[in-house]
């Protein structure tokens, strides 16, 4: 039998056997985890606004982000964030905590190969594409915005 046809048939057959991820439970978990992270961020925001009334809103936001990013790095370091991520899925990936985890986890992992070739080179292996997409996307949007 023709190999291409055989492979196509096999792929169709395998596809029919593959268990599918259940959408609703995943969505619920993502909503719960993502929501909790956002609520925590809002908590930090309110806390800083309350204790430092002199700070401008943008400065409070910066402080809140710094706290959340630090907390994620800390949880990544003590091996808790990957458990949250495995359970919460996109809920833990989409907020800035996901970004923080994606940079701190390779930094920890590749520390053994040294500071330059380990940490510096590998730190952005996962976050790098996100940054590139973000920058390119914002350039495109900027151009579009210019002409509208």
């Amino acid at each position: 039998m023709d190999k291409q046809k055989r492979n196509a048939n096999y792929n169709i057959y395998v596809e029919s056997k593959v268990p599918k991820t259940k959408a609703w439970p995943s969505l619920f978990k993502a909503f719960l985890v993502g929501g909790l992270i956002c609520a925590l961020g809002q908590g930090f925001f309110d806390l800083y606004s309350h204790f430092f009334p002199n700070l401008a809103e943008s400065e409070v936001t910066t402080c809140m982000l710094m706290s959340i990013i630090f907390l994620t790095c800390f949880l990544t370091g003590i091996g808790i964030y990957d458990v949250i991520g495995a359970w919460g899925g996109a809920g833990s990936v989409i907020p800035i905590t996901g970004f923080s985890n994606s940079i701190s986890s390779p930094a920890i992992e590749f520390k053994k190969e040294g500071i330059i070739y380990g940490i510096c080179v590998k730190m952005f292996t996962i976050a790098g594409p996100v940054i590139v997409c973000g920058v390119v996307g914002s350039i495109v949007c900027g151009f579009v915005g210019l002409f509208i």
């Binding site: 291409q4 055989r6 492979n7 196509a8 096999y10 792929n11 057959y13 395998v14 056997k17 593959v18 268990p19 599918k20 991820t21 990544t76 370091g77 091996g79 964030y81 990957d82 458990v83 949250i84 991520g85 495995a86 919460g88 899925g89 833990s92 990936v93 996901g98 985890n101 994606s102 701190s104 986890s105 390779p106 920890i108 992992e109 590749f110 053994k112 996962i126």
Partner: protein, 348 residues
Amino acid sequence: MQTIKLKNKPYLLNGYSIVGPMEGKGPLKDYFDYILKDDTLKEKTFEKSERKLLQDIIVGAIDKANLKVSDIDFFFGGDLLNQIVSSSYTARELELPFIGLYSACATMAESIALASIFVDNGLANNVVAGTCTHFSSAERQYRFPLELGNQRPPTAQWTITGGGASVISNNPSNIRVVAVTFGRVVDFGIGDVNNMGAAMAPAACDTIREHMKNVGRSSSDYDLILTGDLGKLGSEILIDLMEREKFILGKNYSDCGCMMYDKTERVFMGGSGAGCSASVLNSYILKKLSAGEFKRVLLVSTGALMSTTTSQQGDTIPGIAHAVELEYVGNKPVNKSVTFAKGEKKDG
């Protein structure tokens, strides 16, 4: 012919297995020789841990076979790390003549097959064949950093920490290696690296069919037909594929990856890795065979021969499977209890 029937049927003198803490909680926990409490083995990196693990396994196997390292003529082995460093560094430490092999997770069957051919043809008296894998070193080479909070798809498998080694010899024992089959590289066009079971199942099917045809036996002649690490999905696919070719795999079929973990553990389709069939062979199978509870076993280790580069370039995953047929002959008991080489005793 891809099957080699061994004229003198060399003996599997003894075997030794070590697994990690997670595998040590699984259904086969009573069969393993040693269960690690600490999967770093007190080394600084996981690559170093893996080679320490393999070294302990090889020394353990030689010791359990009542031999000295100097009695061993060759060490056949390989592992999953790039340039099979765990095996070559182990060979460096033990100063053994080393024949490095790579068939991904099919390395155990390949090692035993070649070791048996060497002994069968009088090229060596005692040969050690072994391999191992470490979850953490495999993850960092093939997948993501350990602490990354990502999700695995339901078809993913869990690389085991552990491995095993066998001593093949012309000194009599209860177990003989009867015939070996080297598999063809089979690729049915599966490109998903998270579905290795489906990629390897056609290779397993090809090898099992060829082996049975060449030795003139049917699946009912075996007490156990054991694939390496197809996992739950891969095993189901293999059963389907074999059925299409009029070979029925019944209750005497199992898969090392499915046997490794309890259902409660989050390992998706089951265990995988070169150490998977190595540790199951040198614990459960070895004990059942040497006690005569199994009379004839066909071990079919399965491997996926892609690399991270080929996968990223869009190539499909070629699979391979090597088969080793073992039989019980009942010469003398080989199961003596042996303390671990470094003076550590088996847990529990």
